[in-house]
């Protein structure tokens, strides 16, 4: 495909602006830029075609099956988009007088109430712009709490080795040292390792439950008790919340702070990697440290309030508001029973696909899973030389998005499937048939998988060359 710069021709342009109706104002040469930016010069039709062509080479959720573990790529309802496009939401300046943006404030206040109930928390902020940003925010709340309560020496956060990669990175950004603890043989938190790890330097624990192996940790109450008794707080990474909406609440499990990836669980689009949004919920003990402005209901309407010991702000204004609008549409559409139904079916779909595949490839653990499960292709790799990545790339030729590869790190040759509730039984049956065929092909014709994909616009890119001699802008 041509780059947009290669379609450009000097002097061609779109002209959306009227002629300026006030006198020109000139600035001194000293202040002016010396170069003209080499931005593309195109007519509207060229532009439209360029992006249409690019769009054809993108695989979205609406194109087909997208079973990405830990990322919850569910279908995004059309009504969400229509509501987020309303002028009454899009054309609102964030610093308008309070009484002229009561609608926006109502959106956030309502979403806060509903989501707090769903997860068992007392307060919520929508300022964090993504899941990892929520992690940072939650850890800063823990930090503020510990500093206020004589815990200045508490500088360690316990993170199981099955955690999302962002967890340790977030710890580093919040000034904590991440302490990795190994998982038990069955993938759950090793209680002895946890007991040995906690102490007077423990600020808290970060945990995903169900975890990244797709298992709900049966010992969760014991885990949070051990951490609390040691003086630590418990942070719930909500990446896997899609499994348990209406079935169980992190707040009831002993978690003090949680983030929800609105762009995963609450059906707002991922946009090729964002915008996301992370609602961070907290128990009362942490409410006074919340960032940014919170919204309170008063008789006269909604008003802004700043938390008395706020950690400050992690982003400007109130966060990715239009993502919150979509999430509210979704929650209102489904209601309590519908959210519960969605989670139940997410778990059902994962288990169903697991059962269809388990005869052909071992899973990381036996028995029921939650909304995702992990295949381990270690044995297949040993016998045939075919890697998890080979199988994933071959899935591209079958018209599917591959599952998450090589994660969690504790499983060798891992493929992590999360079909989500918005897939039909028929889709899962068909996907399983294709995957089984690929696994069989691995034994009979391994070289075919090494060469995959063949049906895509480009083959596997040379990633080593890309990193060794980076070309990250057009050279003209």
């Amino acid at each position: 495909m041509k780059l947009i710069f290669e379609r450009s021709a000097a002097g061609r342009r779109c002209a959306p602006l009227p002629v300026c109706d006030v006198p020109f104002y000139g600035i001194s040469d000293e202040m002016k830029r010396r170069t003209v930016p080499r931005l593309p010069e195109l007519a509207e039709v060229d532009l439209c075609r360029h992006y249409t062509e690019l769009n054809k080479q993108v695989y979205g959720v609406n194109c087909g099956f997208y079973p990405l573990g830990s990322c919850t790529m569910k279908y995004n309802p059309a009504v969400n988009e229509e509501i987020a496009a309303l002028k009454g939401f899009q054309a609102i300046h964030p610093l308008q007088p309070e009484h002229t943006m009561q609608g926006c404030m109502e959106v956030l206040a309502t979403l806060e109430e509903l989501l707090s109930e769903l997860v068992g928390m007392d307060a919520m902020t929508f300022q964090p712009a993504a899941g990892a940003h929520g992690e940072l925010t939650g850890l800063l709340l823990i930090k503020a709490y510990q500093l206020d309560n004589g815990g200045a020496a508490r500088d360690k956060i316990i993170v199981p080795d099955s955690a999302h990669g962002t967890n340790p990175a977030s710890c580093a950004m919040a000034g904590f040292q991440a302490v990795n603890i190994p998982s038990a043989a069955d993938g759950s938190v090793d209680l002895d390792a946890l007991r040995a790890a906690v102490g007077p330097d423990t600020a808290g624990l970060m945990l995903t439950n169900p975890n990244t192996l797709g298992m709900f940790d049966k010992n969760i109450l014991e885990i949070t008790r051990i951490v609390h008794e040691a003086g630590g707080l418990c942070y719930y990474d909500g990446a896997n919340m899609n499994a348990i909406m209406g079935a169980a609440r992190p707040g009831d499990m002993g978690f003090d702070v949680i983030h929800l990836n609105l762009h995963k669980t609450f059906s707002t689009p991922h946009g090729g990697g964002g915008p996301g949004a992370a609602a961070v919920g907290a128990k009362q003990i942490l409410a006074k440290y919340m960032p940014g402005k919170s919204i309170v209901r008063k008789e006269s309407g909604f008003a802004f309030k700043e938390a008395p010991s706020s950690i400050g702000s992690v982003r400007s204004f109130y966060g990715n508001f239009l993502v919150c609008v979509r999430a509210l549409c979704y929650v209102l559409s489904l209601g309590g029973a519908g959210l519960r139904e969605a989670s139940q079916n997410a778990v059902l779909n994962a288990n169903y696909l697991r059962v269809l595949l388990k005869e052909h490839c071992p899973t990381s653990n036996d028995g029921l899973c939650m909304h995702e499960f992990v295949l381990t292709l270690e044995e297949l790799h040993k016998q045939t030389g075919v890697t998890a990545s080979d199988v994933a790339k071959a899935m591209l030729d079958c018209g599917m998005h591959p599952p998450t590869m090589y994660f969690p790190l504790i499983v060798h040759e891992a493929l992590m499937f999360e079909p989500t509730e918005t897939e039909t039984k028929d889709t899962l049956d068909e996907a399983a048939r294709s995957i089984v065929k690929l696994l069989e092909m691995a034994a009979s014709k391994p070289e075919a998988l090494h060469n995959a994909p063949l049906a895509t616009a480009v083959g596997r890119p040379d990633e080593v060359a890309a990193a060794r001699t980076p070309v990250i802008r057009h050279g003209f």
Binding site: L17, N76, F89, A174, G274, L332, G335
Partner: protein, 440 residues
Amino acid sequence: MSSYVPSTMKQRLEMLEAVGVSSFEELYADVPESMRLKEGALDLPDGMSEMEVKASMEMMAAKNKVFPCIFRGAGAYNHYIPSIVKRVTAKEEFVTAYTPYQAEISQGILQSIFEYQTMICELTGMDAANASVYDGPSASAEAAAMCRDRKREKVVISGACHPEVIKVMRTYCYGAGAECVVIPAADGRTDVDALKAALDDKTACVCVQQPSFFGIVEDCAAIADLVHAAGAKFIMNVNPIAAAVLKTPAECGADIAVGEGQPLGIPMAFGGPYLGFMACTEKMQRKLPGRIVGETRDAEGRRCFVLTLQAREQHIRREKASSNICSNEALCALTAGVYMAVMGPEGMREVAEQCFAKAHYMAANIINIQGFHLAYPGVFFNEFVTACPVDTGELLSILEEKGILGGLAVAEGILWCATEMNSREQIDTLVSVLKEVAGK
């Protein structure tokens, strides 16, 4: 009630049977009994039909006042968004795709990001750009993190930066345990004497906003010289529209250029989603946080694009990662890229020039009114502060009654903003209302 579960109940029962359980509840056998919620245990409303949801959300949107005439900026700007920008960025595959880890089926997104990176480099004059961070303030905080090391950990921020920039940078410094010094503004710009006093051999970087929060065009080249003489890095937080005309961060000598990308085709939307853009010198490119797309080849020699330089990220370094950015603002970056492509070099210059012209026409007419004057001397871009003889709160409410969102009340008076969206007629109306109020 709406439901987005497509399998029929008959199919669901078949699936339960295939899994070997007799009910949905049994799927949750691993959840301790005491924690398992019964149906309807939570205090949540019933679901609604699409029609009802729409009506209810439309009612909320209607409770907001959409101002037909806006003279407020302060970090969120009312610019014209060409129709084609929304048309192409709303394409479903762009909207519903995941982070492009699977390059073979994501070339469209990867290429659009590569093009965006190039455009940001062209706009700022810098060598390398990433593919978006959350917003301008958090981009500034990430930039400071790129500069800090064990020997130099102090972050200096000009008090003439946007208050949100200062706040977010402070919060990130608090997290990392880094010292953060805000030097007060003087005359609506960076106080150079105070800056000199704050610089020492512990200073990692200095962040200055161009134009300042109060609208003033700073002499960034002079500031950069000062900062570099002290061995620190210079971060410039720039308005991307102004950047089309003003001396580029590269020409000023900045090490990192960051900014809020919202003016590039993204609606004000009550504050988000916005976009942080970020570019730096080649020397620093391996420290850039977030996503970066690189050009490479496939086995057939075809040009293709891939996420690259990921060793900086949480994938590999985990505990030592310098940033945790994962989901970012890719769709907003696409939007900004499309906007810049629509405008082209001529259009970008034109928007900037119209902003200059309208703001100066407006200022000249406001300060003609008895009692009004500019709070600060110097050249400004699309914002300026006036001190005025009347109560600012009262003045702004009178404007509001007439459908005008006036400037933002600040300590020194009112921070006004004009863009290409404000016609001469709008400005004249504003001035006549101000005249009337001041004359009372």
